[in-house]
Symmetry: C2
Subunit: 241 residues, 2 copies
Amino acid sequence: MAPKSVSTPAELPADDPRHAARATRSAGRQMRSRLLDAASRLFRERGLAGTSISDIAAAADAFPSQITYYFRTKEALFVEAACREMLYVARAAEEAALQAHTPRDYTRVLVETVTATDSVAFFTEALTLTRRRQDLAPLVERTIERLHGEGMRAYASQIERHGWKSLRDPDASSRRFWALAVGVMVEGYAMGRSAEDLCEEMLRVLGDQAATRPAGDAARLHLVSGREVSDSESPDGEKSP
Amino acid sequence: MAPKSVSTPAELPADDPRHAARATRSAGRQMRSRLLDAASRLFRERGLAGTSISDIAAAADAFPSQITYYFRTKEALFVEAACREMLYVARAAEEAALQAHTPRDYTRVLVETVTATDSVAFFTEALTLTRRRQDLAPLVERTIERLHGEGMRAYASQIERHGWKSLRDPDASSRRFWALAVGVMVEGYAMGRSAEDLCEEMLRVLGDQAATRPAGDAARLHLVSGREVSDSESPDGEKSP
């Protein structure tokens, strides 16, 4: 289900209607967020089938009817909670990666952050669910657009800031990053692998994303990714011996 | 559940015990395979939650007790059916790709075959399920090992046969291929994308896997995958000018 614009349950008669509307809107937002927090925690621990609406209500100190009021169904709540966690982990990864000084550090910090939690596995479960519940697809679609859009912008701005050279166009780079994260983590979680193993496996299949610019070298390294081969690029910025 | 060695239900008294054992073993194998066929069809159409053991029994013209006899639970049958389909599509892709004459054709045929069916999405659902059902992990683990092992061998033999040059080590190449297939297809199925769109998206994020050897030209291409950058290697098999 797409998140509705927050409705204002008009429970309280009030002297100043605008004030009351603001207060209930804000209370509504807080309750929504509290329900999402509790749902995320329980869904991650026990999965969709292992969690009931009344478990979530109890954990959030709320009534089951509040869940159906804000989210309609358990599946819609699952997908919304997973989408939120996916955007959180993506943002956390980008923030952590701001500290990186080389393209390889940058990639490593991104991958470490993303593989340290099960957010990607949670989101993958939401994708799998959405296949059978196309009514939930619009929310997933918006999440994926934001993920790629923000990922691409963060990546492009890092590239520009450091004067690195991307090995592919930033949009393909971001899509490739997240597709590999999903593929590596859904397999890794099925096999019960550790976060460290997931991190190493993802770094291994991901390879380099960007390169430092050459310091005017004689080596001629050609880009052999995607469809371009260019003379002026050096993926590692290394000099000829 | 790991597939047990096929048991022989000793229903028939027989004159020649060896003959009878062979006959029941073979009947058992046929029934098992018929149940897997029916289960695959229904699970793909309706998902795990939308399919019951009695639906599958009815579709296979069998009794529900035969399903529990051979597979124990619906979830174990789901995972075994999905693993079998995944190995089938991998083999179909390798066979189709035997006809390819260039590295780019080879990759395209692989990707076209893999994105033409929902086997990868089916398998991803099994991976997601296995996360919560670690008793099913051994079968998934063996499937993934076969997938990567056979994929790597098929790829390496194509590379050798045509004298191509792989852009990464064949094992990483195979793992990367399947991780991207899972990532692209689980997202694409959630969004209801067409097989053509999935194919183009996967080709885009996958990029080149191998290159032809040069007919002796002046370009110098260096291997820039994983952690190695070596001066003596050339992904295109090209010599220094």
